[in-house]
Amino acid sequence: MSFLSKSPTMRGAMVGLSLVFAMLQPAAATEGVSIFTDTSKIVAIGGSITEIVYALGEEKRLVARDSSSRYPKAAFDLPDVGYMRALSPEGVLSVNPTGILALQGSGPKEAVDVLKKASIPFIEVPEHYSREGILEKVRIVGKALGADAKAEVLARDLDARLTAAEKQTASIKERKRVLFVLSVQGGKILAAGSDTAADGMVKLAGGVNAVDGFSGYKQMSDEAIITARPDVILMMSNAGPPVSDDELFGNPSVASTPAGTARKVIRIDGGYLLGFGPRTAEAIHELAVSLYGAQVTD
């Protein structure tokens, strides 16, 4: 199929065709998914959920957001009900919501229990760090808001863009080894292992996660960093105090890696890079270009 998708016209036709197909047949992913009976006052919990609501053009339904919802800028005008994992039941109730649309892992459980007791429908949107995961989120959010058709259009569009972004690195032979560094504290590197958004993004952009052998974010030993041999360090540009190149490469083990000798570090906005939402196709492209430059093909 790859020879087909190289032609833009053909790809457009395929997208169009699949769109028609999708209209006729509801996507299996959203079967059995809840729908809000009243969608007039929704609280969005989780950056990517808020982004999807805006991308669907349904932002007029939002009455509040959580503190991880920092895009688009307009979202800052909404009241902030706090960090998604530390919600306060009365705070959420104070905005009089008719429904809560929350990313997987929102809580705590007690707050959710109280909100359910208040008969406020609570829909949890699962998260997987993959293309399918993003499409599933879009469809579930759309379905919950009664905007299935719009969501299907958005999902198909995103699917096409994500597939295209992934394919841009398909012909690259030499894969870059990428070390995602969450933070540098006292010279210690906190790096992303498997089952992380960073791991998912590196793979989608045609890279290889230099970390092998642990999941989640863990502190890495100096020797493990040397054996990981990263070609590139990837970091978030706006999370916590900025880590300068000198501080990063001041760590002798980091300095000794290919990334260290070339002083190659990529910094990308955290919500954009790790959100797995409507902007992820662009983020994949941006990361791929940063990794491979001109080798990235359209």
Partner: protein, 367 residues
Amino acid sequence: MVDQSIAGPVKVMANASEGDRSGRARIVILLLCLGLAAAVLLSLTSGASDASAVNVLRDWLLGAVPGDAALSARDNLIVYDIRLPRIILGMLVGAALAVSGAVMQGLFRNPLADPGLIGVSAGSSLGAVAVIVLGTTVLAPVTALFGTLALPLAAFFGGLATTLVLYQVATRRGQTSVATMLLAGIALAALAMALTGILIFMADDRQLRDLTFWQLGSLGGATWQKIGSVGPIIILALAAMPFLARGLNALALGEATAGHLGIPVQRLKYTAIIGVSAAVGASVAVSGGIGFVGIVVPHLLRLLIGPDNRYLLPASALLGASLLLLADAVARTIVAPAELPIGIVTAVAGAPFFLWILLRKRGVIDL
């Protein structure tokens, strides 16, 4: 280290002005009662939402009131299911932490003693973190059996287990050495923290965030169910503590003297330790780490009413309850509709205040 604020009862008893002092203590306690009532009212009527406690109270008194039924139901939920359990839990935890601090300081005859020192808090934290991190794997049967109560129960038994080990270590031939207990408490706390560290290392990102918030402390998870599970433990422990007052006063003269005065010293120590670990274990279990209440409240009160434990313990309970309610009111309104962890509020308010107390006392005691 000579601490006159605790060695004080000697002088107080010998002093002709004892009547003045107890009279003053009674007035202070009365004022503290009024203060607590005011704190309860303030907590009941303030919050992120505009729910009016007055309307709800009227609803309760008059039964159903005609009018906006939907809003009334919402107000009822906010006041009855969110604010009220939180207030009760806040009072219980505040009183438990403050009284435990006062008892520990009396027992160890050391103004720096607090429940954290004998490892109760560290043991409780270990239990709670174990449930957060292992709740879906090794401890899955436990969480399946106890549900949301698994965490408070694990924290409670973690604290209690630490205390019992400690007591075994410090007791030889029926005699408990307070000094050994203090040192062993430091060792056990270090061990519990190391084990917690292993769990933190094993934790995934979500669990890490959960346990960070847990360690910062919050009364946010207050439910009637939680009050039902830890309330009786705290109330029982608080009810036992006034009986310690005379013993603790005598203990200030030294163990031998207290024994000669007819105080059953061994039983006193045992009751105090079990009571404190039960009260603190239960408090940490439901509210996470809330610092400074246990150390600031008794110190402040000793300045006001002197060191007599007969007044100090009830006054500590009242002031601890009031202060925690006020801290919680700040925590849940200052960044509304979001909420600050209460441990942040008590530390930010408590630490500078504690320094101020120390500076004021410098002329009195040589720390």
